[in-house]
């Protein structure tokens, strides 16, 4: 049986993308231009992510063997630019990533960087050696 997650549906529909999402007609232009889908077509597919998001098919998105299907995105924003329906795909992907973090499925890099920012206000804390180099220039 297919489980529809209405919470997920609501979140992606609300994500500052107005109601554009429901006009996705699965034309696949996003996947055509995606450089990551080009390299790893079986592991990353933005069109699929959009489809599963607006259908609320949470199990097709989360809880897989690895989370590359969400975190493979290199954030180049090319899909946003190309989508004939003007859907801001990366806005939806941000919702999915925030959820993936909350479920503890995200790559380490993201949680480590976030702790640094919460702690010091900087993603990359100042280092004495670099400070010295900075003074000299």
């Amino acid at each position: 049986m297919v489980m529809v997650d209405y919470e997920l549906k609501k979140k992606v529909m609300d994500a500052n993308i107005h109601d554009a999402l429901k006009y996705c007609y699965q034309c696949n232009r996003c996947t055509d231009v995606c450089p990551v889908a080009d390299l790893a077509p079986n592991r990353y597919n933005p069109r699929n992510l959009i489809l599963n998001s607006f259908l609320g098919l949470k199990e097709n998105i989360f809880g897989g063997d690895d989370s590359f299907n969400i975190w493979g995105c290199t954030m180049c924003d090319t899909c946003d630019e190309i989508c004939p329906q003007k859907i801001e795909l990366t806005g939806v992907f941000t919702v999915l990533k925030n959820m993936s973090i909350a479920m503890g499925e995200a790559p380490e890099y993201y949680t480590i960087q976030a702790s640094a920012i919460y702690d010091s206000g900087k993603a990359i804390p100042p280092q004495p050696a670099i400070e010295r180099r900075r003074e000299q220039l």
Partner: protein, 295 residues
């Protein structure tokens, strides 16, 4: 919108705390051109790829806090980095066009005694230099860079999403090319000009990241590029430090200098490579400098 007499300079964490020589070159170029900047107690922008993926609301709140510092002085922000630029611009536009979000964020900011107004603009340094005018920049050029073939790489967050950032054409940007041409060098065409450097996916997995980078390098080398010129510190680090890995990934050997736009402009103004800290580049510049008449 704020008056453009002086900008609040936003160097960002990567430039400020990892690659200070980029900031040095930018400051020297602005000084020479008479573009006035001043500093402020900005925190991390925060990173549009990393931190926004972790928590969108915190990202908005921190970005808005930075904006309020410039608002307090009524000055526009000038960013040296694609990432900071995109974050601050996106936050500014999102909060300006969404009363509900603005209210929510202002409730958070109230705790630290701040309020987002939406009274200033955010600019990328390429926009600022281009507004200044390639022709006017040309007047300061003393070094002969004719014959130097440059692969321009704008990176993704300078010109996309175009409806919001409104800097340049989203898939065929021209401003960087025109600024490079102003130094006397020649911007070349190469097939993967719009390809991402791969830095984003590199946070998740190395192989696809190195493959994107290798594809980019191969295409530029094939087109005869002598150097890359970039305008984003994340692209700079990816391209300057990972040439060996990208080579291993793709059975290639890459040795191509990566220059920040402000470094190329500073050199064209006759500034000395040592005072610019060019020796700190990982992809060596010795050959490029000798070939182009610097000692």
């Amino acid at each position: 919108m704020a008056k453009v007499e002086e900008y609040k300079l936003f160097p960002g964490c990567t430039i400020g705390n990892r690659i200070p020589f980029i900031e040095a070159s930018a400051r020297k170029v602005f000084d020479k051109l008479g573009i006035k900047t001043s500093d402020a107690a900005f925190a991390c922008c925060p990173d549009p790829v990393g931190f926004n993926s972790v928590d969108h609301t915190s990202w908005l709140a921190m970005g808005a806090r930075n904006l309020t510092l410039a608002e307090a002085e009524g000055k526009d922000i000038l960013s040296l980095c694609n990432g900071c630029f995109q974050t601050l611009k996106l936050v500014n536009v999102e909060l300006n066009n969404n009363e509900h979000e603005k209210e929510k964020i202002n409730k958070i900011l109230k705790v630290v005694g701040k309020e987002f107004q939406g009274s200033i603009n955010v600019k990328h340094f390429v926009e600022v230099l281009h507004d200044y005018g390639p022709d006017k920049i040309k007047e300061f050029v003393t070094h002969d860079f004719s014959g130097l073939k440059v692969a321009c790489h704008t990176g993704c967050h300078y010109n996309r999403p175009s409806e919001i950032v409104q800097t340049d054409d989203p898939m065929e940007p021209v401003k960087l090319r025109e600024l490079v041409a102003a130094t006397g060098a020649t911007p070349i065409d190469y097939s993967e000009e719009m390809l991402c450097c791969g830095s984003g996916v590199g946070n998740t997995e190395e192989a696809p990241s190195m493959q994107l980078l290798a594809n980019k390098f191969s295409s530029a080398v094939k087109a005869g590029a002598d150097v890359f010129v970039v305008i984003c510190p994340a692209c700079f680090q990816q391209m300057d430090t990972n040439q060996k890995k990208a080579g291993t990934q793709s059975n290639n050997e890459f040795k191509i200098p990566i220059l920040y736009l402000t470094e190329l402009i500073a050199l064209s103004f006759g500034m000395n490579p040592d005072e610019l800290g060019l020796k700190f580049h990982r992809a060596r510049l010795t050959e490029f400098l000798t070939k182009n008449g610097f000692k």
